[in-house]
């Protein structure tokens, strides 16, 4: 479904990702772990077209999307919940969600209702400019916005950041449920225990390279992972 | 006569910027003069003049830079410049301190000349309009007169006040004094205000743009009475723009194709027409005369002319020999008022002497 080969990305002369390759199968849920500054976000941004990689390819369903511009990647069926949320501050919550109609992907009333079901808080705040939302509310909105485009592949960059525990549970339940329905998902998560408990496959990134990969069981046994991420 | 050879004259022009249309006229008039002087040897046997042009864009700072460069360039023998009085005031001290002769051609502020380097071929305005006002007052006997004045151009304002004095002396009542600014474009308000006072004569004494705008607005709003104005109406382009809206409106000046008939005027008009396929206006005539004035000064010298000698010669000149006005007296570096022509545009785009309608 999503095949990333030898992805290399840099910010000017600063190299952030060097030759990452990973494969996310249809309907699978993969997780990426790594410490601060490892290059997790850069990897996701480069896959989604939010950052232009300098090398490597990103294949979605056999099509190379690494040269597409951001909105075309979204239209091709890949959605990102970015680090820092990037909600459109001047637009209301509802406008933010409905903007997805431009993706040409469904995002019908049903999806909107589903998003509001998942995050009742957003429904309460639907007419508020999203820049005025609390941090966690914005995070919910960012997730909701990605869902609105009804993507085939969903990339989440630390979805639990800033969310209260009950909402974290909800989000992960939703992720699992979506995955069960056949949604392909790649998630970066700091809450490693939680992430490893739901995923099919995991990667650990260090200094822009993949250093460990394997099934959740294998990762859990890895001493490095144990020490840094599971405590 | 001076030694044969090439002498350079620096011109700080206004080819771009807000007054470019007039600036180009001056520049073209000067070019005509150069050609004529060189072909007829007016500056002496074997003497050719070359015009070195720097555009100021009507910006004082740029004009100052240009004048400084001319002043320090030893090849430049004399300079000429300036439509705007403010720029003239800024460059005059530079010419004086660099000891290079400067002939001012457009700026109408008084007391610009400085002995001996700075001279002016512009007659100070006023007397011509006064003549015109006297004629109009006596021939038309207006009762109620409205004046459109310039709020940011003292020279035009002074001219208008001089006219007002004459007209009021004839017994006419001033019903309105309406001020506009040079940069204005919308005159519906002032026109409405003017018409509301029901005048039988309207005097428009402002810079070119507002003058044309005010007259157009007055006519569009249905004012059919008499209007008088200044020479700003004279360029053919103004007629081309406004058409017969401005027909029959008198203005006073010293040079106008179709009316001026001195030998110099005719040859100037012909040369200009041949070169630019258009008729020269009073601005072109001034640019022309500035160069002729310099040539006349050069011709009066011997050997290799110096800036100092040239300046002295020009300062002491009492009459510009080649001039399209049919006579141009000079006094202490300042042109005196030449003969006055009171003219108007006709409906078919010619300029004729004004007659009482």
């Amino acid at each position: 479904m999503l095949t990333v080969t030898n992805l290399t990305a840099s910010y000017g002369a600063i190299r952030a990702v060097q030759g990452i390759s990973l494969t996310v199968d249809v309907g699978s849920l993969s997780v990426v772990l790594g410490s601060n500054g490892a290059g997790k976000s850069t990897t996701l941004r480069s896959i989604a077209g939010l950052h232009r990689p300098i090398g490597g390819s990103v294949m979605l369903d056999g099509h190379n999307i690494s040269k597409l511009s951001l909105h075309n990647v979204v239209r091709a069926g890949l959605a990102l919940v970015p680090e820092g949320r990037m909600v459109v501050a001047p637009l209301t919550v509802e406008e933010n969600l409905l903007l997805s109609r431009f993706s040409g992907r469904k995002g019908d009333g049903d999806t909107l209702a589903r998003v509001f079901d998942l995050f009742p808080r957003l429904k309460e705040r639907r007419t508020q400019p999203s820049g005025l939302l609390s941090g966690g509310e914005q995070q919910m909105l960012a997730i909701g916005r990605a869902l609105m485009t009804e993507p085939r592949v969903l990339l989440l960059d630390e979805p639990s950041m800033g969310l209260a525990p009950s909402v974290v549970d909800l989000v992960f339940e939703a992720i699992v449920a979506l995955n069960k329905q056949g949604q392909t998902i790649l998630v970066v998560e700091q809450n490693a225990a939680l992430a490893l408990s739901v995923c099919d496959y995991g990667y650990v990134i260090k200094r822009g390279e993949i250093v460990v990969k394997g099934s959740p069981e294998e990762l859990r046994e890895n001493p490095e992972v144990l020490e840094a991420y599971l405590g | 006569e001076p030694d044969a050879g090439e002498y350079r004259i620096g011109m700080v022009s206004d080819d771009s910027g807000p007054i470019a249309s007039a600036g180009q006229s001056y520049h073209q008039g000067a070019d005509i003069a150069i050609a004529e002087i060189n072909s007829k040897g007016l500056a002496g046997e074997g003497v050719t003049l070359v015009l070195d042009v720097k555009d100021s864009g009507s910006d004082a700072a740029r004009a100052v830079q240009a004048m400084t460069q001319f002043g320090s360039d030893r090849k430049i023998l004399a300079t000429t410049c300036c439509i705007l009085s403010s720029i003239a005031a800024a460059v005059s001290p530079i010419a004086a301190s660099n000891e290079v002769p400067l002939v001012i051609y457009g700026a109408t502020r008084s007391s610009l000349p400085q002995e001996p380097f700075v001279t002016s071929v512009v007659a100070l305005p006023g007397p011509q309009e006064v003549q015109m006002s006297e004629r109009i007052a006596s021939e038309l006997r207006p009762k109620k007169v409205a004046y459109f004045l310039s709020g940011d151009n003292d020279i035009f304002k002074t001219r208008a006040l001089a006219m007002q004095e004459v007209i009021e002396k004839s017994g006419a009542e001033t019903v309105a004094e309406i001020t506009t600014l040079s940069a204005d474009t919308d005159f519906t308000g002032p026109a409405t205000q003017g018409i509301a006072t029901n005048p039988d004569l309207i005097v428009v004494m402002t810079t070119q743009q507002p003058t044309v705008g005010i007259i157009t607005a007055l006519r569009q709003r249905g004012y059919e009475g008499m209007i008088v104005t200044s020479e700003v109406l004279s360029p053919p382009a103004v007629f081309k723009k406004s058409g017969d809206t401005i027909a029959g409106i008198p203005f006073a000046l010293s040079f106008q194709p179709g009316v001026s008939d001195s030998e110099a005027a005719v040859s100037f008009i012909e040369a200009y027409k041949a070169e630019y396929d258009a008729l020269p206006d009073v601005y072109a005539a001034q640019g022309y005369m500035a160069i002729q004035f310099i040539a006349q000064g050069i011709k009066s010298l011997d050997g290799k002319p110096t800036r100092q000698d040239l300046a002295n010669a020009m300062w002491n000149t009492t009459e510009i020999n080649v001039n399209p006005y049919g006579g141009q007296a000079m006094e202490s570096g300042q042109a005196r008022t030449p003969s006055t022509l009171i003219v108007n545009w006709t409906k078919d785009g010619e300029v004729k002497f004004w007659e009482k309608p």
Binding site: G12, A13, I14, R15 | S16, V53, K54, D55, G57, D59, A60, A61, R62, V64, Q65, T68, Q69, G71, S72, D73, R74, S85, S86, A89, A90, P93, I94, S97, R109, D152, N153, D154
Partner: protein, 308 residues
Amino acid sequence: MEALLDFWSAYSAAIAFGLVNSLFALSMYSVLSAGILSFTTVVFAAIGGFAAAQVIGTFGLPLWVAFPLAGIAGGIGSAIIAAIFLKLETHWMALASLAMVLITRVTVLNTPSLTGGVMGMMVPVRASVLELTILVAIVALVFYRLHNSWYGLAIRAVREDAAAASTMGVSLRHIQLIAFLISGVVGGLAGAAMATTLQYISADTFYLGVAFTMIAGTVLGGSFHWFGPIVGAFVFTALPSVTQAVLPELQDIAKGVVLLVIMIYLPRGLIDPRARGLRKAARQRQDAAVREQDNASKLVKNAGQAHD
């Protein structure tokens, strides 16, 4: 030698205006560096310019008395304006400052006893290039010191994020007031320098044209470091002369194109400390990476020895 002298006298005017425009640009930069887009420099310059013209013309005082007086006059003007303006927010302040420029023009035109009205004023003394250079050098020294002081740090913080800076104990008002006062003094000096360079000033001298020049110069040179405005002012002053020499008919267009190209390639101006910071960061990371590799290989070696 003579050719050299000729060259100097031909271009000394351009250099003089470059120096004068540097002062204008620095005055604008002073408030810009606090995140305020304000054209009030023109107002301060008018105050300083006419003050200098009066001091020199009417009272016959020398240049180096006129300069400080003009600076003080500009500073007083800025204190008054700051009292009104610091209530406003950024965009509104920009407009209010334009309004001030227009009000100043009307005031100048209508107070002939002070300013000569529409006729303007002649200034009998000319500042030499050397004198202007000294003036600019003094002002530049002040900006250099400011940049490297606590004020410099605080003002950059205020510009980037005023609210965050305030929770660090930086008083927004205080910093912005200082910025305005400096802008006023330097603006007053700029006006005096302009008056003694042109030797003639009028309402038109201190109008939108100079506002254009100073903002274009400031941003072109770089509005994130005090040296930027000086560079920008010189480039922007030299542009017309250069384009006139190369393409006399199209000089204005050429000037626009050069401005456009510079901004497209260097959107933050010719002097950009951030770009320098980025380059530095890149270098350091590379060094760090190399060091780490060295360490790693050393470790491997050590490990190898341990096995022995």
